[in-house]
Amino acid sequence: MATYAEMQEIFEDIKKDFRYEHELNGCLNCGICTATCPSAHFYDYSPREIVQLLWTENVEQVYDAMQEKIWACAQCMTCAARCPFKNSPGGLVAIMREVAIGHGLQSAKDVLRPFGRVMLKLITTGNQLSPDMIQPDHFPDWGPNIQKVEGDLKILRRAIPMKTLQTTDTAWEVALKTSVEMYTIWEMTGVLKQLETMDENLFDVIEDFIEEKREEYEELLEEQKEAE
């Protein structure tokens, strides 16, 4: 359990985000946001409550909401489209999630553990999912009709008439140079650091992968130079 000072620091970090002023303009407790919220149907979650906690600067309960409630939000932004005050409860949740990660909250680590595959794919390839991740074995709840033509995935993908889509481990073929540019973005914006805070093992795997890809790119540039 965090001390009050730690909770205060977390709250100040939320408020420090420049989007905070955009996303929170006042609240009359009208509850339109919660009435229209998909997550409120199934979770103990109310966007109105999130807005109220922030608006009233209820530091302890903001911290409490960051343990579980903020992860219920589906980020559809229906609340933002509907709020008469032009608040964006979904946008505020996004800020709170970022701060939860920045502070390495255990609850965030627990929630995000099953999301690791997507993050690995995203950080290393610039794509967020790939055909080989969507195989029937991974999604038994999608039923037996998940693929209407049987066959080898590689062949089925080659039967897609766009060259860029004839891949299995990325959604489309991403040029090596493009991936390397993306790694620079991750580094310079602190995304890799966020990842290290959340999951050190995943971070190590990703760091090795990035190093390998960069070497591959350097070699490619050398080859191109020699060819010239």
């Binding site: 999301f115 999608w142 008439p161 489309w172």
Partner: protein, 437 residues
């Protein structure tokens, strides 16, 4: 006839003359029609600030020029938006390409059918990443700076992409396939225009990547979703390409949240479609093809995708989509098909039907994108082009209702797979065009 769209059965048409109807509602419109309000103080049009920043030498605006043959549309508050119809850079969706490949192939096929020439009128290339916003909205990993850098990197590439084919900078204008990318990019553009500190920080990154033009970042004049292109082309698609009568089909439309609820002032509203009261895209294509568009009470609801939930809390996703979408479309609208305009929604509604059996909720509904439905109506092959073999929902039913034989098409496709194995692959464009870097 069961009531008026969206108002339930107790509402019935008044049968007033157009003149009397105008009189009866004029005072209401005057008070509440959002397009009549003076929005000057309530909401900024970010595009106006972009011109100012360009004047001050801060940014370069990638213009929608006459060469892009733009069509003008109106957005929520009656603002104008230019939709380029030619010279388009396909900014793909990772969810579509990985999971619903018939989505982009149907779009490119339609462009080809309209006479657009790959390499001149559109480009699909490998030098692009996803917007990374699915991950951000799901996990909170990432931040405004990373999202902005990814946005500007990808859109800079769109700006310069024509160079290797002998075109001027700005020749290709980005056409964003994914609804979440569309919403995210618009949000990020707004932040970039409003926040000088963010611009400075991101500029350093773009500089390191060699992605500045004359030392400036490039921001597009408009951010355009593929469904907007479909919307402005719908009459041409229907009049020039349609081969199959779909007037007997009952369609329902699911509006993507990240199309109409994120930066909602930029979504297209058209008085010809749903009375101008709801976002027009998707519905407008189905109507242009002559299909019946049936309303249902949960039209405005999200699909239940949830970004994180579809991966790691699927019980929420499937419960919501069955309860609030599939069941309603089947029971209320008795629809033959549900049409989506975005990646996550089509995936969610398509894949989460079978599991309903576990709770005796046996609701089924073919799910596909507006452009896949349009391509089918225009004679595209259900397998080779529309790629319905990747869908889990019973799309075969709607194909049969269109008068096509699912079984015959499948046999032909299986024979084609043998040719693919032998290296005889049919492409929508010369594959060499794709290899950009």
């Amino acid at each position: 006839m069961s009531g008026i769209a969206g108002h339930g059965e107790f509402f019935q048409p008044t049968d007033l003359s157009a003149e009397d109807a105008e009189k009866a509602t004029a005072w209401v419109k005057k008070r509440v029609d959002r397009r009549e309000l003076d929005l000057g103080e309530r909401m900024d049009d970010v595009r106006e600030h972009m011109w100012q920043l360009e004047k001050e030498g801060e940014i370069i605006v990638h213009r929608v020029s006459e060469a892009h043959k733009p069509a003008m549309v109106k957005t929520l508050f009656g603002w104008d938006k230019k939709i380029p119809t030619m010279q388009l850079w396909h900014h793909k969706s990772c969810g579509q390409c990985g999971n619903i490949p018939g989505y982009p192939t149907s779009l490119l096929w339609t462009m080809n059918q309209l006479g657009m020439q790959p390499g001149r009128d559109y480009l699909d290339e490998t030098d692009q990443t996803s917007c990374t916003a699915w991950n951000y909205h799901g996990s909170g990993i990432g931040n405004v700076e990373s999202l902005a850098a990814v946005f500007l990197r990808n859109f800079h590439q769109a700006y310069v992409s024509g160079k290797r084919l002998g075109h001027q900078p700005g020749h290709f204008f980005p056409l964003v396939h994914c609804g979440t990318s569309f919403g995210n990019y618009k949000e990020v553009r707004k932040y970039l225009v409003e926040n000088a500190t963010l611009r400075e920080r991101v500029k350093k990154i773009l500089g390191k990547l060699g992605r500045l033009v004359d030392g400036k970042i490039v921001i597009p004049e408009e951010i355009v979703h593929y469904s907007e292109w479909v919307h402005v082309m719908r009459k041409r698609i229907a009049s020039e390409l349609q081969k199959i009568d779909v007037s007997h089909l009952r369609t329902t439309v699911h509006m993507a949240c990240h199309y109409s609820k994120m930066v909602h002032e930029d979504a297209i509203y058209d008085p010809e479609v749903l009375g101008g009261n709801r976002a027009a895209v998707g519905t407008s294509m189905a109507e242009a093809l002559g299909a019946q568009v049936i309303d249902y009470s949960t039209w405005y609801d999200c699909c239940g995708f949830g970004f994180r939930h579809i991966i790691s809390e699927r019980e929420f996703t499937r419960s919501f989509t069955i309860e609030r979408k599939i069941k309603v479309a089947q029971e209320e609208a008795k629809a033959d098909v549900m049409l989506g305009i975005d990646t996550g929604c089509v995936t969610t509604m398509d894949k989460n039907q079978w599991i309903g059996r576990a709770h005796e909720q046996q609701y089924t509904m073919p799910i596909m994108a507006d452009i896949q439905f349009a391509a089918l109506a225009c004679g595209a092959d259900p397998f080779k082009i529309v790629q319905l073999q990747w869908h889990a929902s019973p799309c075969e039913d709607v194909v049969e209702k269109m008068g096509l034989s699912w079984g015959e098409s499948k046999k032909k496709f299986e024979a084609y797979l043998e040719e693919v194995k032998a290296g005889k692959i049919e492409y929508l464009y010369n594959p060499e065009l794709a290899l950009s870097a």
